[in-house]
């Protein structure tokens, strides 16, 4: 039990409430898209009908890479990045580093190619700076849109990162103040909603979900604000203080200084053999490969792996690019293991929930959705206590519109993706679909009376979700039988999740109270 004076408790309650009122709706959007983004790889695979190859990075690619290297300008052969996209294609980025006049920063510039891993055929090719060519393929549109909405709310850098970083700090405040004002933490974890009145019932549910999600909310807020502020604010400031503003020097120290330069031409060792050795060492197939100084005596190959069975964090193996010799495990920061590396390595798995495969991801999604529920019910409690104030009641309608409107807009964006995939610019269609369905939700909120709003929006969301698998398959998406035959069970699983979620929403719309209701407080509901 945490005892606080009346005055301090009053201040904490004020901060807990006002932080939610001022930032709650934005926080809800970020947390909801974050919960969805946990399954970003699965959504990516589902949106493009599954992966062409089960493990594209395990397919022999050395010969393909050598052929591709001859097709790009010599200057762009300095470094090569290699990974697989959701469609199971190899993404190869031959690049150099040069000043981007648009941003004023040193950036990667080169040619990015989507390659069929079986035939080595170049499916698409685009030249530009890293930020322009990465994730710009037609199949990347849906998952990238969701991730960008979560990471920076589609605001320009660095403002989007600052905004989500501040929202992370607000969530941290809500979690800590919530912990301090809950006088009976253990009891609150097992509280049963009281049947005596709508307000008490809602408060009990808010406390129950908040108590169980407290640690998760804290972890999510902490790691989220770290990711937002570390690159946008922290790294430039650390570079100023410790390196006189030289961010390149700061990054080189953090990631470990490169080997001594030797530009003597030297043939590359076999990449497939390096991948094979790396997979043996790490216990998992490569996730991402970075080749520094292609075709030079000082070439180094760094192979990144996701966490192996029973491991919390992934590993990176370093090879001599010219001889193919295994140089050892490379810590993610610095050149030797340190406390800073361990702490840094933990940030990703704790935020993304990808440390135990699909199981931990599902837990993270559920806890994320619980946080959404806590945010919305917290706002509703605040508004319900002010139900006689017309000003606050205007906000009550917008809470419901945002609570349902965000998933409606996401489902609308997915429909737009399927409509345009292989036919038009998917990136434009996904953005238009999201904006269009957002506007539609707002209009419904403005036109309909509050009593009918909840059921109408829940019904719309249910219909959009149930229709998603149909839209996907009718517009040429992989049918279930074909997906299962090619080992793409994720496509079938995601379709089923959509239908199930849609049915739950439909039941809510029908007033069957199958799940927590995001109903706006109605006058007279408080007791």
């Amino acid at each position: 039990m945490i005892k606080l004076s009346q005055e301090r408790t009053r201040r904490l309650i004020a901060v807990h409430g006002w932080s939610a009122v001022v930032c709650g709706l934005f926080l809800y959007v970020v947390v909801l898209t974050g919960a969805v983004a946990v399954l970003v790889h699965e959504i990516g695979a589902w949106s493009v009908g599954g992966s062409k190859v089960a493990e594209p990075m395990a397919v022999p690619m050395d010969a393909t890479l050598r052929t591709l290297a001859q097709q790009v300008p010599e200057a762009q052969r300095e470094d090569v990045s290699l990974f697989a996209n959701a469609a199971g294609e190899l993404v190869v980025f031959f690049h150099t580093h040069q000043l981007n006049p648009a941003t004023g920063n040193m950036e990667d510039f080169g040619t990015l190619m989507d390659v069929d891993p079986r035939s080595g055929e170049v499916l698409r090719s685009r030249e530009g700076y890293g930020g322009e060519v990465f994730n710009a393929g037609p199949g990347d549109a849906l998952d990238r849109f969701i991730v960008d909405l979560h990471v920076n709310l589609h605001l320009p850098d660095p403002w989007g990162l600052y905004a989500t970083g501040i929202l992370g700090l607000v969530m941290l405040v809500a979690a800590i103040s919530g912990l301090l004002i809950h006088r009976h933490l253990i009891k609150d974890a097992f509280v049963a909603p009281r049947p005596s009145g709508a307000l008490l019932q809602k408060k009990d549910r808010h406390v129950l979900a908040g108590t169980w999600g407290l640690v998760f909310g804290f972890v999510l807020a902490f790691t989220g604000s770290f990711f937002s502020f570390a690159t946008a604010l922290g790294l430039p400031l650390v570079a100023i203080t410790a390196f006189g503003g030289d961010q390149v020097a700061a990054i080189e120290t953090l990631v470990g200084a490169p080997a001594a330069s030797d530009d003597t031409p030297a043939p590359m060792a076999n990449l497939d053999a390096m991948h094979e050795r790396s997979a043996r060492e790490a216990g998992s197939v490569p996730l991402f490969t970075s080749v520094a100084h292609w075709g030079r005596a000082d070439s180094q190959v760094l192979v990144f792996h996701s966490p192996a069975e029973g491991q919390l964090t992934g590993t990176s193996n370093l090879f001599d690019g010219a001889s193919g010799e295994f140089l050892g495990v490379k810590p993610s920061l610095g050149t030797v293991p340190s406390a800073g590396t361990v702490a840094f390595d933990l940030m990703g798995p704790l935020h993304f929930g990808n440390f135990a495969g699909l199981l931990s991801k599902i837990v993270w999604v559920c806890l994320g959705l619980a946080m959404c529920y806590v945010t919305i019910t917290g706002l509703q409690l605040w508004l319900q206590r002010r139900e006689h104030d017309p000003l606050w009641q205007r906000l009550a309608g917008s809470v419901e519109v945002v609570a349902y409107g965000t998933p409606i807009a996401l489902a609308g964006a997915a429909h737009a993706f399927f409509l345009s995939y292989g036919r038009a610019d998917t990136h434009l269609w996904v953005a238009s679909g999201f904006i269009g369905f957002s506007i539609l939700s707002i209009l419904v909120g403005l036109v309909l009376p509050r009593a009918a709003l909840h059921r109408t929006l829940a019904g719309c969301l249910g219909a959009l979700l149930v229709l998603l698998p149909l839209t996907r398959m009718l517009l040429g998406g992989t049918p279930w039988a074909a997906a299962l035959a090619t080992g793409n069970g994720v496509v079938v699983a995601m379709d089923m999740v959509m239908v199930l979620s849609g049915v739950i929403c439909a039941r809510v719309a029908a007033g069957l109270r199958w799940m927590p209701r995001f109903a706006a407080p109605l006058p007279g509901a408080a007791t």
């Binding site: 945490i2 005892k3 004076s5 100023i240 810590p331 940030m347």
Partner: protein
């Protein structure tokens, strides 16, 4: 868990009028934000480098949210906002000196 942080005051903690309330807003808002940014940047100077020589760079970045939260709740819960403001200001100044010095060096280098 039993943490007794009961406030022992003989007078209203925020005093009469809106002055203390405004002071607390200023301290817990902009001052805490500026102070935590300066502490993060200043930490690179005094934090141990560790075996890999990166702890003084990594931990300030990793701990920024914690530094901000710690200072924010101190500013919020201290009975006297002016005292909290003075402590946080002192912290900001102490950690801001190496930042300002590095900025000056950088600007002089740029001018030359």
């Amino acid at each position: 868990m039993s943490v007794d942080t009961t406030e022992k005051t003989t007078h209203p903690p925020d005093g009469p009028g809106r002055g203390p309330l405004i002071a607390r807003w200023i301290v817990a808002g902009p001052l805490v934000l500026i102070a935590s940014i300066l502490v993060m940047a200043g930490m690179t100077v005094w934090f141990p480098e560790g075996a890999a020589g990166i702890n003084h760079l990594a931990f300030p970045l990793l701990l920024f949210p914690a530094i901000w939260a710690l200072l924010f709740f101190y500013a919020l819960l201290d009975a006297r906002p002016w005292r909290a403001g003075a402590v946080i200001l002192a912290l900001a100044v102490a950690n801001g000196i190496p930042v300002v010095s590095a900025l000056q060096t950088m600007m002089q280098g740029g001018a030359q």
